[in-house]
Amino acid sequence: MKNSSWLISGLSPLFGLVFFLAVWQVASLFYHHVIIPSPVEVARAFFSLLSGGQFWEHGSHSIVRGLTGFSLAVVAGTAVGLLIGLNQTAASLLRPLVVVFQVTPLVSWLLLAMIWLGFSRVPVFVVFVTTVPLVIINTIQGVKSIDKQLLQMAAVFRVGKSRVVREIYLPQVAPYLMAGMSSALGVTWKAVAMSEFLSVHTGIGAGMAEARMNLETAALFSWTLFLIGLGLVSDRLLAYLTKQKLSHWM
């Protein structure tokens, strides 16, 4: 009895997947493959993109752009977040700017980046502006959560200001920063593909533009799967690193 229930709970995600594939397969029978390609066609397109090197070629561009924009956002966002959290003047000066960043539509950033920076730098810029508010806001939350008693302790023992920031503020902000990075990473790959689609001839977004032009819907599905995979892998990786860094005291 116990064994069979274990089997069912262990296999249920697999059942879900099989059910999903079955519905997809049935739906594809009723529509032209340009509208809904069958799972088999998508799989074939996926492996052809994989063996043809397109995933690697386009994917590497996107990963470099995504991680560049993301890293810049983490560094700048942490600095700005700390500044806002620690300094009242900086807070009143910069907070409205953060709100503007948050509410500005993606398409405005895209078009402005094309005008200001030229097409090639659009993806990195768009990733940066869409992720940096997430990092800033989480960092501010982290600063707010800081234990005042520890600051008092450090003040009594006359620990230097820069060490207080590095050894008391940053570790306490770290869990919030990690949460901010996690949501920023979720946005990164979407932003990179979207901006590549509209601005450049390399990267996942460009690969998708090509597939759309040739009416290769199966390839479009494959690119989407690749993006989902990229998002899942990078998220798991970040979660793993977070655990490595913080589990000994959290």
Binding site: Q149, M153, A155, V156, F157, V159, E167
Partner: protein
């Protein structure tokens, strides 16, 4: 001439109540002064003013300007992301060489019975061990003035007595000034060269006793401690809100 730490004519209002009103006190350096008093009489505020964490509304505090202050708070106040050794190193880093830091850390971790836990994180320590680490951190810091704010509050009796012994030992080795705030009369009598009893708010000294028996010869069963205990208990009763 003996150097003194002086509170002169201190006024201090906290949260709308006047805690200190024309309060004056002299503390002889190089000795231990124990301070007892009813809850909320401003004992902690007194220490915070000595440490520069609170300023008096008026009046002056002198004799502490050039002193390095070490502080044991009521809570351990440890950095959870640093190891046991790392927590002590945190306060030593700016003032001692790497080699000296290692010596101090090893010495005081051994004194506190925490040497085997040097690489552990505070998360894995018991409450008593955390408080011992906070004591070790304060001892290791090269201070001129040690402030103890009910440091044994949450510990069981054998451990309290053991740590009282460690403070006495540390004092004998270094002869540094210690201001020891407690609500336990026996602890106060075991450690203080001078024991000060404070009144309820607004706070003023109601009794002060010099005890000339060396720290290592004192016992809670031997005079003058039992007699002083009864006298101070009576005083505290009369100051208590439950009188």
């Amino acid at each position: 001439m003996k150097r003194l730490i002086r509170f002169d004519n201190i006024y201090k209002t906290l949260g709308g109540t006047r805690v200190f009103q024309s309060f004056s006190l002299q503390v002889e350096t190089g000795k231990i002064i124990s301070i007892i008093g009813p809850s909320g009489c401003g004992k902690t505020t007194l220490l915070q003013m000595l440490a520069g964490l609170e300023q008096p509304d008026s009046g002056s505090i002198s004799g502490v300007e050039e002193l390095r202050v070490s502080y044991v708070f009521q809570e351990p106040r440890l950095l959870l992301w640093k190891t046991v050794a790392g927590n002590i190193d945190f306060v030593l880093r700016d003032v001692e060489t790497a080699e000296r830091r290692r010596e101090l850390i090893d010495y005081y971790l051994k004194m506190m019975g925490l040497y085997e836990y040097r690489d552990h994180y505070p998360k894995t320590l018991s409450g008593g061990m955390k408080q011992r680490l906070a004591l070790g951190r304060a001892f290791a810091f090269p201070h001129g003035l040690l402030l103890l704010d009910e440091p044994f509050k949450s510990l069981d009796t054998p451990l309290r007595l053991g740590l009282v012994g460690q403070v006495a030992r540390m004092w004998r080795e270094t002869r540094r000034t210690i201001v020891f705030v407690t609500h336990d009369i026996m602890e106060a009598l075991l450690l203080g060269h001078r024991v000060l009893v404070l009144s309820a708010k607004p706070t003023f000294p109601v009794d002060t006793v010099e005890i000339n028996v060396p720290l290592e010869e004192r016992s809670i069963a031997r005079e003058p401690l039992p007699g002083l205990h009864d006298r101070m208990l009576a005083l505290l009763r009369s100051e208590s809100v439950y009188k």
